[in-house]
Subunit: 159 residues, 2 copies
Protein backbone atom coordinates (compact mmCIF):
# COMPACT_ATOMS: atom_id res chain seq x y z
CA UNK A 1 0.00 0.00 0.00
CA UNK A 2 1.48 3.30 -1.02
CA UNK A 3 -0.67 5.25 1.43
CA UNK A 4 -1.35 5.12 5.13
CA UNK A 5 -4.68 3.57 6.11
CA UNK A 6 -6.89 5.56 8.44
CA UNK A 7 -9.82 3.44 9.65
CA UNK A 8 -11.69 6.58 10.68
CA UNK A 9 -12.37 7.37 7.04
CA UNK A 10 -13.90 3.94 6.60
CA UNK A 11 -15.95 4.40 9.77
CA UNK A 12 -17.26 7.63 8.27
CA UNK A 13 -18.23 5.81 5.05
CA UNK A 14 -19.99 3.12 7.12
CA UNK A 15 -21.91 5.78 9.07
CA UNK A 16 -23.01 7.36 5.77
CA UNK A 17 -24.16 3.94 4.56
CA UNK A 18 -26.14 3.18 7.71
CA UNK A 19 -27.76 6.61 7.77
CA UNK A 20 -28.72 6.26 4.10
CA UNK A 21 -30.41 2.93 4.83
CA UNK A 22 -32.22 4.16 7.93
CA UNK A 23 -33.63 7.33 6.37
CA UNK A 24 -34.68 5.52 3.17
CA UNK A 25 -32.65 7.79 0.90
CA UNK A 26 -31.05 4.86 -0.92
CA UNK A 27 -29.07 1.65 -0.62
CA UNK A 28 -26.83 1.00 2.42
CA UNK A 29 -23.62 2.19 0.81
CA UNK A 30 -21.27 5.08 1.58
CA UNK A 31 -17.87 6.11 0.26
CA UNK A 32 -15.31 8.85 0.69
CA UNK A 33 -12.29 10.00 -1.31
CA UNK A 34 -9.18 10.98 0.64
CA UNK A 35 -6.06 12.80 -0.48
CA UNK A 36 -3.05 13.50 1.71
CA UNK A 37 -5.00 12.47 4.79
CA UNK A 38 -7.88 14.83 4.08
CA UNK A 39 -11.37 13.87 2.95
CA UNK A 40 -12.18 15.66 -0.30
CA UNK A 41 -15.58 14.14 -1.10
CA UNK A 42 -18.22 11.75 0.13
CA UNK A 43 -21.02 9.86 -1.58
CA UNK A 44 -23.98 7.68 -0.76
CA UNK A 45 -26.10 5.47 -2.97
CA UNK A 46 -28.81 7.59 -4.64
CA UNK A 47 -30.04 5.12 -7.30
CA UNK A 48 -33.71 5.34 -6.35
CA UNK A 49 -33.74 8.97 -5.18
CA UNK A 50 -32.04 10.39 -8.27
CA UNK A 51 -33.42 7.90 -10.85
CA UNK A 52 -29.89 6.96 -11.80
CA UNK A 53 -28.79 3.31 -11.90
CA UNK A 54 -25.14 4.45 -11.93
CA UNK A 55 -25.44 6.54 -8.75
CA UNK A 56 -23.63 4.15 -6.45
CA UNK A 57 -21.81 5.59 -3.45
CA UNK A 58 -18.36 5.16 -5.00
CA UNK A 59 -19.36 6.67 -8.36
CA UNK A 60 -20.95 9.62 -6.58
CA UNK A 61 -17.85 10.11 -4.39
CA UNK A 62 -15.51 9.83 -7.40
CA UNK A 63 -17.55 12.33 -9.42
CA UNK A 64 -17.70 14.77 -6.51
CA UNK A 65 -13.95 14.51 -5.89
CA UNK A 66 -13.13 15.07 -9.57
CA UNK A 67 -15.42 18.09 -9.62
CA UNK A 68 -13.81 19.43 -6.43
CA UNK A 69 -10.31 19.01 -7.86
CA UNK A 70 -11.26 20.16 -11.37
CA UNK A 71 -9.69 17.13 -13.04
CA UNK A 72 -10.69 13.70 -14.32
CA UNK A 73 -7.74 12.07 -12.52
CA UNK A 74 -7.77 11.16 -8.84
CA UNK A 75 -4.16 10.05 -8.81
CA UNK A 76 -2.81 10.36 -5.29
CA UNK A 77 -6.22 9.66 -3.77
CA UNK A 78 -7.66 6.68 -1.90
CA UNK A 79 -11.22 5.38 -2.05
CA UNK A 80 -12.78 4.23 1.22
CA UNK A 81 -16.05 2.36 0.73
CA UNK A 82 -18.42 0.78 3.25
CA UNK A 83 -18.64 -2.25 0.96
CA UNK A 84 -16.42 -3.91 -1.62
CA UNK A 85 -17.02 -1.99 -4.85
CA UNK A 86 -19.24 -3.67 -7.44
CA UNK A 87 -17.71 -4.18 -10.92
CA UNK A 88 -19.02 -0.80 -12.10
CA UNK A 89 -17.47 1.00 -9.14
CA UNK A 90 -14.24 -1.01 -9.27
CA UNK A 91 -13.80 -0.12 -12.95
CA UNK A 92 -14.68 3.51 -12.15
CA UNK A 93 -11.90 3.48 -9.55
CA UNK A 94 -9.45 2.27 -12.21
CA UNK A 95 -10.57 4.95 -14.68
CA UNK A 96 -10.28 7.56 -11.89
CA UNK A 97 -6.75 6.26 -11.18
CA UNK A 98 -7.11 6.19 -7.41
CA UNK A 99 -4.06 4.74 -5.68
CA UNK A 100 -5.84 2.28 -3.39
CA UNK A 101 -9.23 1.01 -2.23
CA UNK A 102 -10.16 0.24 1.38
CA UNK A 103 -13.50 -1.41 2.01
CA UNK A 104 -15.58 -2.87 4.84
CA UNK A 105 -18.24 -5.46 3.95
CA UNK A 106 -17.65 -7.94 1.14
CA UNK A 107 -19.56 -8.51 -2.11
CA UNK A 108 -20.86 -11.72 -0.51
CA UNK A 109 -22.26 -9.68 2.40
CA UNK A 110 -23.99 -7.40 -0.12
CA UNK A 111 -25.39 -10.44 -1.87
CA UNK A 112 -26.88 -11.75 1.37
CA UNK A 113 -28.58 -8.36 1.86
CA UNK A 114 -30.22 -8.73 -1.55
CA UNK A 115 -27.80 -6.94 -3.87
CA UNK A 116 -26.50 -8.44 -7.09
CA UNK A 117 -22.81 -7.69 -6.60
CA UNK A 118 -21.51 -11.26 -6.38
CA UNK A 119 -23.64 -12.45 -9.29
CA UNK A 120 -22.45 -9.50 -11.34
CA UNK A 121 -18.79 -10.36 -10.65
CA UNK A 122 -19.46 -13.84 -12.02
CA UNK A 123 -20.64 -12.38 -15.32
CA UNK A 124 -17.14 -10.97 -15.82
CA UNK A 125 -15.59 -14.41 -15.68
CA UNK A 126 -18.24 -15.81 -18.04
CA UNK A 127 -17.79 -15.96 -21.81
CA UNK A 128 -19.78 -13.11 -23.42
CA UNK A 129 -22.02 -15.59 -25.27
CA UNK A 130 -23.05 -17.20 -21.98
CA UNK A 131 -23.83 -14.02 -20.04
CA UNK A 132 -27.35 -13.20 -18.91
CA UNK A 133 -27.25 -9.84 -20.72
CA UNK A 134 -26.88 -10.54 -24.45
CA UNK A 135 -24.35 -8.42 -26.34
CA UNK A 136 -23.81 -8.60 -30.07
CA UNK A 137 -21.24 -6.98 -32.34
CA UNK A 138 -22.18 -5.50 -35.70
CA UNK A 139 -20.81 -2.87 -38.13
CA UNK A 140 -17.30 -3.43 -36.76
CA UNK A 141 -15.58 -1.91 -39.79
CA UNK A 142 -17.75 1.20 -39.77
CA UNK A 143 -17.21 1.61 -36.04
CA UNK A 144 -13.41 1.54 -36.30
CA UNK A 145 -13.62 4.78 -38.28
CA UNK A 146 -14.22 6.60 -34.98
CA UNK A 147 -10.83 5.44 -33.71
CA UNK A 148 -9.12 6.49 -36.94
CA UNK A 149 -10.70 9.94 -36.49
CA UNK A 150 -9.44 10.01 -32.90
CA UNK A 151 -5.87 9.02 -33.73
CA UNK A 152 -5.74 11.63 -36.50
CA UNK A 153 -7.51 14.39 -34.57
CA UNK A 154 -5.30 17.40 -33.73
CA UNK A 155 -7.89 18.43 -31.10
CA UNK A 156 -7.83 15.34 -28.91
CA UNK A 157 -7.04 15.47 -25.21
CA UNK A 158 -5.55 12.15 -24.11
CA UNK A 159 -6.82 10.62 -20.90
CA UNK B 1 -32.25 -11.49 -28.78
CA UNK B 2 -35.61 -10.35 -27.47
CA UNK B 3 -35.57 -7.18 -29.54
CA UNK B 4 -35.17 -6.32 -33.17
CA UNK B 5 -31.80 -4.91 -34.15
CA UNK B 6 -31.79 -1.68 -36.11
CA UNK B 7 -28.27 -0.93 -37.41
CA UNK B 8 -29.25 2.71 -37.96
CA UNK B 9 -29.16 3.31 -34.21
CA UNK B 10 -25.63 1.95 -34.12
CA UNK B 11 -24.67 4.11 -37.10
CA UNK B 12 -25.96 7.11 -35.15
CA UNK B 13 -23.83 6.14 -32.14
CA UNK B 14 -20.79 5.78 -34.42
CA UNK B 15 -21.44 9.21 -35.94
CA UNK B 16 -21.62 10.68 -32.41
CA UNK B 17 -18.32 9.00 -31.58
CA UNK B 18 -16.54 10.25 -34.68
CA UNK B 19 -17.85 13.79 -34.26
CA UNK B 20 -16.75 13.80 -30.60
CA UNK B 21 -13.23 12.79 -31.63
CA UNK B 22 -12.99 15.29 -34.48
CA UNK B 23 -14.17 18.29 -32.49
CA UNK B 24 -11.98 17.41 -29.49
CA UNK B 25 -14.90 17.25 -27.05
CA UNK B 26 -13.85 13.87 -25.69
CA UNK B 27 -12.98 10.27 -26.46
CA UNK B 28 -14.24 8.61 -29.68
CA UNK B 29 -17.25 6.95 -28.11
CA UNK B 30 -21.00 7.37 -28.62
CA UNK B 31 -24.04 5.51 -27.37
CA UNK B 32 -27.83 5.63 -27.58
CA UNK B 33 -30.66 4.04 -25.62
CA UNK B 34 -33.62 2.75 -27.61
CA UNK B 35 -37.06 1.65 -26.44
CA UNK B 36 -39.78 0.27 -28.67
CA UNK B 37 -37.82 1.32 -31.75
CA UNK B 38 -37.46 4.90 -30.60
CA UNK B 39 -34.25 6.59 -29.41
CA UNK B 40 -34.80 8.01 -25.93
CA UNK B 41 -31.29 9.26 -25.15
CA UNK B 42 -27.81 9.64 -26.52
CA UNK B 43 -24.41 10.12 -24.92
CA UNK B 44 -20.82 10.81 -25.85
CA UNK B 45 -17.65 10.52 -23.83
CA UNK B 46 -17.17 13.71 -21.77
CA UNK B 47 -14.42 12.56 -19.38
CA UNK B 48 -12.05 15.43 -20.10
CA UNK B 49 -14.67 18.11 -20.82
CA UNK B 50 -16.71 17.51 -17.66
CA UNK B 51 -13.86 16.46 -15.35
CA UNK B 52 -15.61 13.18 -14.69
CA UNK B 53 -13.79 9.85 -15.09
CA UNK B 54 -17.16 8.04 -15.12
CA UNK B 55 -18.59 10.11 -17.99
CA UNK B 56 -18.27 7.43 -20.67
CA UNK B 57 -20.74 7.50 -23.56
CA UNK B 58 -22.76 4.54 -22.26
CA UNK B 59 -22.96 5.89 -18.69
CA UNK B 60 -24.03 9.29 -20.01
CA UNK B 61 -26.67 7.70 -22.27
CA UNK B 62 -27.96 5.48 -19.45
CA UNK B 63 -28.17 8.40 -17.03
CA UNK B 64 -29.97 10.56 -19.61
CA UNK B 65 -32.45 7.79 -20.43
CA UNK B 66 -33.23 7.14 -16.77
CA UNK B 67 -33.77 10.86 -16.24
CA UNK B 68 -36.02 11.03 -19.31
CA UNK B 69 -38.10 8.08 -18.12
CA UNK B 70 -38.08 9.11 -14.45
CA UNK B 71 -36.94 5.70 -13.25
CA UNK B 72 -33.74 3.87 -12.36
CA UNK B 73 -34.73 0.87 -14.49
CA UNK B 74 -34.24 0.70 -18.24
CA UNK B 75 -36.00 -2.63 -18.60
CA UNK B 76 -37.35 -2.94 -22.13
CA UNK B 77 -34.54 -0.81 -23.55
CA UNK B 78 -31.50 -1.62 -25.69
CA UNK B 79 -28.08 -0.01 -25.51
CA UNK B 80 -26.34 0.71 -28.81
CA UNK B 81 -22.68 1.67 -28.37
CA UNK B 82 -20.05 2.57 -30.95
CA UNK B 83 -17.61 0.35 -29.04
CA UNK B 84 -17.84 -2.70 -26.80
CA UNK B 85 -18.63 -1.34 -23.33
CA UNK B 86 -15.74 -1.24 -20.86
CA UNK B 87 -16.28 -3.11 -17.56
CA UNK B 88 -17.70 0.03 -15.91
CA UNK B 89 -20.23 0.53 -18.70
CA UNK B 90 -21.06 -3.17 -18.98
CA UNK B 91 -21.80 -3.32 -15.25
CA UNK B 92 -23.80 -0.08 -15.55
CA UNK B 93 -25.87 -1.77 -18.27
CA UNK B 94 -26.58 -4.66 -15.90
CA UNK B 95 -27.60 -2.31 -13.09
CA UNK B 96 -29.77 -0.37 -15.54
CA UNK B 97 -31.38 -3.69 -16.59
CA UNK B 98 -31.27 -3.02 -20.32
CA UNK B 99 -32.47 -5.99 -22.36
CA UNK B 100 -29.59 -6.15 -24.83
CA UNK B 101 -26.37 -4.48 -25.97
CA UNK B 102 -25.35 -3.90 -29.60
CA UNK B 103 -21.87 -2.59 -30.23
CA UNK B 104 -19.52 -1.79 -33.10
CA UNK B 105 -15.77 -1.79 -32.43
CA UNK B 106 -14.26 -4.27 -29.96
CA UNK B 107 -12.35 -3.70 -26.72
CA UNK B 108 -9.25 -4.81 -28.64
CA UNK B 109 -9.87 -2.04 -31.20
CA UNK B 110 -10.14 0.46 -28.34
CA UNK B 111 -6.90 -0.86 -26.90
CA UNK B 112 -5.09 -0.32 -30.20
CA UNK B 113 -6.31 3.31 -30.18
CA UNK B 114 -4.72 3.81 -26.75
CA UNK B 115 -7.58 3.03 -24.37
CA UNK B 116 -7.26 0.67 -21.42
CA UNK B 117 -10.41 -1.38 -22.00
CA UNK B 118 -8.81 -4.75 -22.72
CA UNK B 119 -6.31 -4.41 -19.87
CA UNK B 120 -9.15 -3.48 -17.54
CA UNK B 121 -11.14 -6.58 -18.54
CA UNK B 122 -8.10 -8.68 -17.58
CA UNK B 123 -8.16 -7.24 -14.05
CA UNK B 124 -11.60 -8.80 -13.56
CA UNK B 125 -10.25 -12.27 -14.20
CA UNK B 126 -7.27 -11.65 -11.92
CA UNK B 127 -7.31 -12.54 -8.22
CA UNK B 128 -7.84 -9.35 -6.15
CA UNK B 129 -4.41 -9.69 -4.51
CA UNK B 130 -2.71 -9.67 -7.92
CA UNK B 131 -4.52 -6.67 -9.40
CA UNK B 132 -2.69 -3.47 -10.23
CA UNK B 133 -5.06 -1.45 -8.03
CA UNK B 134 -4.62 -2.65 -4.45
CA UNK B 135 -7.81 -3.21 -2.44
CA UNK B 136 -7.88 -4.17 1.21
CA UNK B 137 -10.71 -5.14 3.51
CA UNK B 138 -10.93 -3.86 7.07
CA UNK B 139 -13.62 -3.32 9.73
CA UNK B 140 -15.77 -6.03 8.12
CA UNK B 141 -17.91 -6.57 11.23
CA UNK B 142 -18.58 -2.87 11.70
CA UNK B 143 -19.45 -2.52 8.03
CA UNK B 144 -22.05 -5.29 8.08
CA UNK B 145 -24.11 -3.14 10.46
CA UNK B 146 -25.15 -1.06 7.43
CA UNK B 147 -26.77 -4.11 5.86
CA UNK B 148 -28.55 -4.98 9.11
CA UNK B 149 -29.91 -1.42 9.16
CA UNK B 150 -31.03 -1.84 5.54
CA UNK B 151 -32.78 -5.16 6.07
CA UNK B 152 -34.59 -3.78 9.12
CA UNK B 153 -35.41 -0.37 7.62
CA UNK B 154 -39.13 0.25 7.03
CA UNK B 155 -38.19 3.12 4.69
CA UNK B 156 -36.14 1.19 2.15
CA UNK B 157 -36.97 1.17 -1.56
CA UNK B 158 -35.71 -2.04 -3.13
CA UNK B 159 -33.89 -1.78 -6.43
Amino acid sequence: MPHEINPEFLRHAIRLATRNAVNGAGGPFGAVIVRNGRMISEGVNTVTASHDPTAHAEVNAIRAAATALGTFSLEGCELYSSCEPCPMCLAAAYWARVDAIFYGASAADADRAGFDDARLYKEFTTEPADRTLPARQLLADEARASFVAWVESPNKIDY
